[in-house]
């Protein structure tokens, strides 16, 4: 990997550091926080979709597990939020591993089906188990605190999320450049060839799927604590699609593409609010146009325009 890829990281840090001083009001601060949360989820999902070439259409379900673990366990059982967050992540990891093992022996469309099914089942369960989850109306989430210090205002949340994002970008860049990352890219290129050179294909796929699911679960917990309220919409099929779209529009297999995709698609609904009633139509049309004219996503297409070299 070129050192150049890490320049991007410094730029990300610089932007994150300056942003709170530039943002005019709390509306934009809130938007920035949600963009950063989505960016972390999308980074994880892109490792799966872009680098390992596998599709998950149920990632919002994993987000939901994390979010509801953080809501239900402290509320009904008096667990510490940190413990609840970890429990959610562990449960998500186990579930993902359980599902992934048999599924990853299959290819493309079957995995899409399995993850889609899993996401929908989780969402229906969240809507139905109203005694625990508050049903379709959702439930409040207690504040997150550690060592007597409680995260209460948006400024504090911004810095927490900014640090999480920075660490995630750094970790993703390192992961891609590690033997693990090279194995992933190899199996995206050709599964048989990678098997021939000794890559345990199924194990790697399961590992990356579990990793991205755990990313999603943790960020689900963060979202729940930040917003202070969860509803099943967080875990629905449409949200899964939004996450995949962020990956693809930004650029598959591109770390910075993930960030661009997350930022654009988090902002888009705000921008579309002016189209009263036509939001869905315009959103759908934008998806189609982007994919038809930039099938590789924004960042890789633009990067290829500016230079013919490799990019991260």
């Amino acid at each position: 990997m070129q050192k150049r890829a890490y320049y991007g990281l410094y730029i990300v840090i610089a932007i994150l550091a300056v942003l709170p001083m530039v943002l005019p009001n709390s509306f934009y601060l809130d938007l920035a926080i949600r963009m950063a949360i989505n960016a972390v989820i999308v980074l994880g999902l892109n490792l799966l979709i872009g680098f390992a070439g596998q599709i998950s259409l149920g990632h919002a379900g994993f987000l939901g597990i994390g979010a509801y673990a953080s809501a239900v366990l402290p509320t009904h059982f008096g667990w510490h939020p940190l413990l609840a967050m970890v429990a959610g992540a562990v449960a998500t990891g186990l579930l993902a591993a359980l599902v992934a093992r048999p599924i990853f022996k299959l290819k493309g469309n079957y995995l899409a089906m399995a993850t889609l099914g899993l996401g929908i089942i989780l969402n229906i369960a969240l809507r139905n188990e109203a005694t625990w989850t508050g049903g379709p109306d959702g439930m409040p989430v207690p504040a997150f605190g550690l060592f007597g210090f409680e995260l209460s205002n948006d400024k504090q949340w911004y810095w927490v999320v900014a640090i999480l994002l920075t660490v995630s970008v750094w970790a993703s860049l390192n992961l891609i450049d590690s033997p693990f990352g090279r194995a992933l890219r190899a199996l995206h290129g050709s599964e048989v060839a990678s098997r021939v050179v000794g890559v345990d294909v199924v194990r790697y796929k399961v590992a990356i799927f579990v990793l991205s699911a755990v990313f999603a679960s943790l960020m689900g917990s963060v979202t729940a604590h930040y917003v202070g309220f969860v509803t099943p919409n967080l875990a629905d099929f449409f949200h899964s699609i939004e996450l995949v779209t962020m990956v693809v529009i930004g650029g598959m297999a591109s770390v910075y593409g993930s960030l661009v995709g997350a930022v654009l698609l988090t902002a888009l609904p705000q921008a579309l609010a002016t189209f009263e009633g036509w939001e869905t139509v315009v959103f759908g049309a934008i998806l189609m146009i982007c994919m038809i004219f930039l099938p590789k996503g924004l960042v890789p297409t633009l990067a290829a325009k500016f230079d013919k070299g490799d990019q991260a």
Partner: protein, 291 residues
């Protein structure tokens, strides 16, 4: 006991027939292009909604129904021409997002034009229920099952006895080889989108008098059609029909005997189990990839 079972059975195969039509639509497009068309559910919705509005506009029923099949077919062809053909050979996930984009555009347009209310269509031959061994069967169910049966027979004839049908089958087996023997594979793609949209719309029209329809009715119907197609073995026409009926039946029996709150989850639980134990579905062919 028996009466109750029969009741669940009747409602199960009726919705199952709609899933079967949707699954056939998935199969047609998948075979022609390897695309999973996530807009399939919107064709079902479109068929139902258009039938409602054409009849309300005063058109005679047969004309209204014909238009309600033709318009979605044209929409299907437009999607194929404008959005699928230009990106042929793109990654699976890119194609999935294009079809999801298309489904949002259709759903959004219907919401803007026809509103977000729930609509119904009068049953084709009255609402007088038929009594069978203590269970009741609506005449509309017979319409759904009868028309689906006719469609299956026609499709079977089309694919085994006509040149166009055989060309479509050949393309699904090996696109390049089909092109080499002079089959217009773009034409096949065009045909399969038109046919699959028409099939979906037909299912939507038939089932609307029973289940009602609204702008967002296509989401679940489409996803369950996808489940049915995978259950039967993606790409297998017979499998799609069997898969559809099976999904409908199990959903109805499960809702009746186990839990009605989890009715919508049943097809998805089913498909997870099938993928675990029979990864190629019930009738899926074993394929080996060429490296």
């Amino acid at each position: 006991m028996l009466a109750q079972f029969l009741q669940f059975f009747f409602s199960g195969i009726t919705v199952g027939a709609t899933y079967a039509l949707a699954a056939l639509g998935f199969t047609l497009i998948y075979n022609a292009s390897n695309v999973i068309n996530f807009a399939q559910g919107e064709f079902i919705m479109l068929g139902g909604m258009l039938a409602v509005f054409f009849t309300q506009a005063g058109l005679p029923l047969p004309v209204a129904l014909l238009l309600a099949i033709l318009v979605p077919a044209v929409v299907g062809v437009l999607i194929e021409k404008l959005a699928i053909e230009p990106v042929k050979g793109a990654e699976t996930v890119t194609l999935i997002i294009i079809t999801i984009g298309a489904s949002l555009v259709i759903r959004g347009l219907v919401a803007v034009i026809f509103g977000k209310g729930t609509h119904s269509l009068p049953a084709f031959s009255g609402d007088e229920p038929i009594q069978i061994l203590g269970a009741t069967l609506m005449p509309q169910s017979l319409w759904v099952l009868g028309v689906t049966a006719v469609v299956v027979v026609v499709l079977w004839y089309f694919f085994t006895r006509t040149l166009t049908g055989k060309a479509m089958l050949a393309t699904s087996y090996n696109r390049l080889a089909a092109e080499l023997v002079g089959i217009n594979t773009n034409g096949v793609l065009f045909m399969s989108f038109a046919m699959s949209a028409a099939l979906g719309a037909l299912g939507g029209i038939l089932v609307t008098p029973i289940t009602l329809t609204s702008y967002d009715a296509g989401i679940m119907l489409g996803l369950k059609g996808f489940v049915a197609a995978v259950l039967g073995g993606l790409g297998n026409g017979l499998g799609a029909v069997v898969g559809g009926l099976l999904v409908g039946l199990l959903e109805s029996l499960g809702a009746g005997y186990l839990s009605s709150a989890y009715k919508d989850a049943i097809p998805f639980v089913l498909i997870l189990f099938i993928l675990f134990f029979m990864p190629r579905g019930l009738f899926g062919a074993r394929v080996t990839d060429r490296v």
